[in-house]
Structures are given as C-alpha cells and as structure tokens.
C-alpha cells in the first residue's frame, strides 16, 4: 500500500500554479495566460517513489485575509485539512510581491515549500537570487523551477516527500511586530491558550488575526465560546 501524501498548490495569480499542477499530475488542466483562471480548487493525483500524492490546486491569491471567496477557500483548506506540504509557487521575477503570501503561510505554521518559478524570466532580467540564503531566511526549502519547460519538477517531488516525511526542516518564521504589538500578542496568546481553538491552530497566529480584526477568526471564537 503506497503511503498517501496530500499537498496543496498555492500562490499569487499568474505565478504558474496550474502549469506546476499539470507537471506534477500529468493532467491537462486549462492554463490561461491571465490571472484568476483557477476559481475553485482542482484535485489530481500522481505517484512518485512509492508514494501516492494527492495534489490540490488552490485559487491564486495575493493574501490570506477573509475578503474574497478564493482567499477563504485557500486559507481554510490549509487550516482545516492541514496538508502534508504547501507548495507555494512564487514568480521569481516578482519576488517582493510574491513573498508576502509565503510569509503568511509560514506565520500560519504551514509546512511550506517555496517553488521559485519562472527562473528563466528572472535570469533574463539579470536578477541573481541567492536560493540558499532565501531558504535560510524563510526557514523553508526553496526549489528553483521553470515550470513551462518542466524544469525542477523532480527536485520539487523530492522536496515534497522530504517535507511530508519530516526529513526536511520547515522551521517556519516568526515575524516580529515590535514591542507594543508583541505585548498585546502575548496577552492574547495567554487567553487563547485556554480556548479549545488553540489545539487546532497556532495561538500566536490566532492572536495576530484577532488584532487584525479578521472576521472569520472572530466568528470562530464566537462559535466556540457561545456554542
């Protein structure tokens, strides 16, 4: 019986998620060269080195707040299904914008693998990306790729298996918000640790979301406190 691994593919719109999905699963999902092609999650499966891998392609989002249905779909999948790995597809030619989502996944405590896609595009713009340095700073594995030429797919498979088997370190990242905010976070964390929600989600992450007045998270607290 092959061991099953569940992974989520996430990333900004137009970062190549569906292309990576097709490379991993051999599917021929429609790839559009405009953002927002993936409006609902798609699933595929494949096997690699004796593992059966279920791949869930999430909608492209810039952020994980509770504004739009696609952001909620993406966030809830990661929170509730707790996939063995979250492959965040990052456009290497537009790192600054894309890393924002990576940070949000890491803050949630997701087991992130950064797929640094469109490396050819970054090269042609003379960007030199220190892949190891980036991996060290993020505390997560980083795999350079050119998905539309199917480059980096095997390396990504290897990393997925390592992360799912806990053989790769996803240390995660703690964003420091400065003394005043940190004081509030630790007050809230103490209160949250008494709530049953803290067994399911990271208390620090919940505290940050409450400070952001995230409606979905406020609703969750109302539900557990008032039934």
């Amino acid at each position: 019986m092959a061991k099953e691994i569940i992974i989520a593919l996430a990333g900004n719109p137009n970062s190549g998620k569906t292309t990576v999905f097709n490379n991993l699963t051999g599917a021929r999902q429609h790839v559009g060269n405009w953002p927002g092609v993936t409006v609902e999650k798609k699933e595929g499966s494949c096997s690699y080195n004796g593992y059966s891998i279920k791949v869930v392609d999430l909608p492209g989002v810039y952020s994980l707040t509770a504004y739009s249905p696609d952001e909620v779909i993406a966030r809830n999948f990661i929170l509730e299904e707790k996939p063995d790995a979250v492959v965040d597809i990052v456009d290497a030619s537009n790192l600054e914008r894309n890393l924002y989502l990576v940070i949000q996944f890491l803050e949630m405590g997701a087991r992130v693998i950064v797929a640094l896609n469109m490396m050819d595009e970054a090269d042609s713009r003379n960007y030199r990306i220190d892949v190891e340095g980036l991996s060290r700073l993020l505390g997560a594995p980083v795999v350079p790729m050119v998905a539309n030429h199917n480059r980096g797919t095997m390396e990504l498979f290897d990393e997925i298996v390592k992360v799912a088997e806990n053989k790769a370190q996803v240390k995660g990242l703690k964003v420091e918000y400065g003394r005043e905010v940190e004081e509030e976070i630790s007050k809230l964390e103490k209160l949250i640790s008494q709530s049953e929600l803290s067994s399911k989600y990271s208390p620090r992450w919940l505290a940050v979301k409450l400070l952001e007045r995230d409606e979905e998270i406020i609703k969750k607290f109302r539900e557990v406190e008032h039934g």
Partner: protein, 77 residues
Amino acid sequence: MNQLMPLAMVSPGEVVQVVDVRAGWGFQRRLADMGLTPGVIIRVMNSQRPGPIIIDLRGSRLVLGYGMTQRILVRKV
C-alpha cells in the same frame, strides 16, 4: 517638498510616491495586501478621469476605481 495630491489627479506617465491612504481599515488593509503601502513608488500607466486608473506597482499592474484613487494621497518624485 512636493505637494500632496490624490492619485486621481496624476497624469499617465508620471511617477509618484504613495504617502497616505485616507480610508477605513478594510480598504487600507486590502491595498496593503496588493502591495500598495505608504512609501511605495508607483507609475500611472493609464488614466481616464473619471474612470479607472492603471498603475505599475511593484512590477505588476493594478487597476483602481476612480473613487479609490481619490483617497490615495501621493507626491511627485
């Protein structure tokens, strides 16, 4: 020091720095998620007053409604 003005007043081709977003929490947060934060340099690519404005923001294009651009304060750089 260049004067502050709403993004709505900026002509196509001009490069400006975002100084402030005079709006509620949700809208500020939404713009920040898209990378539009105080201090960022943007270029107006297209503007059809009083219609949507296309800006070049951190390497990608963003379309903003006219009403939104009136609440985003910028200065020329």
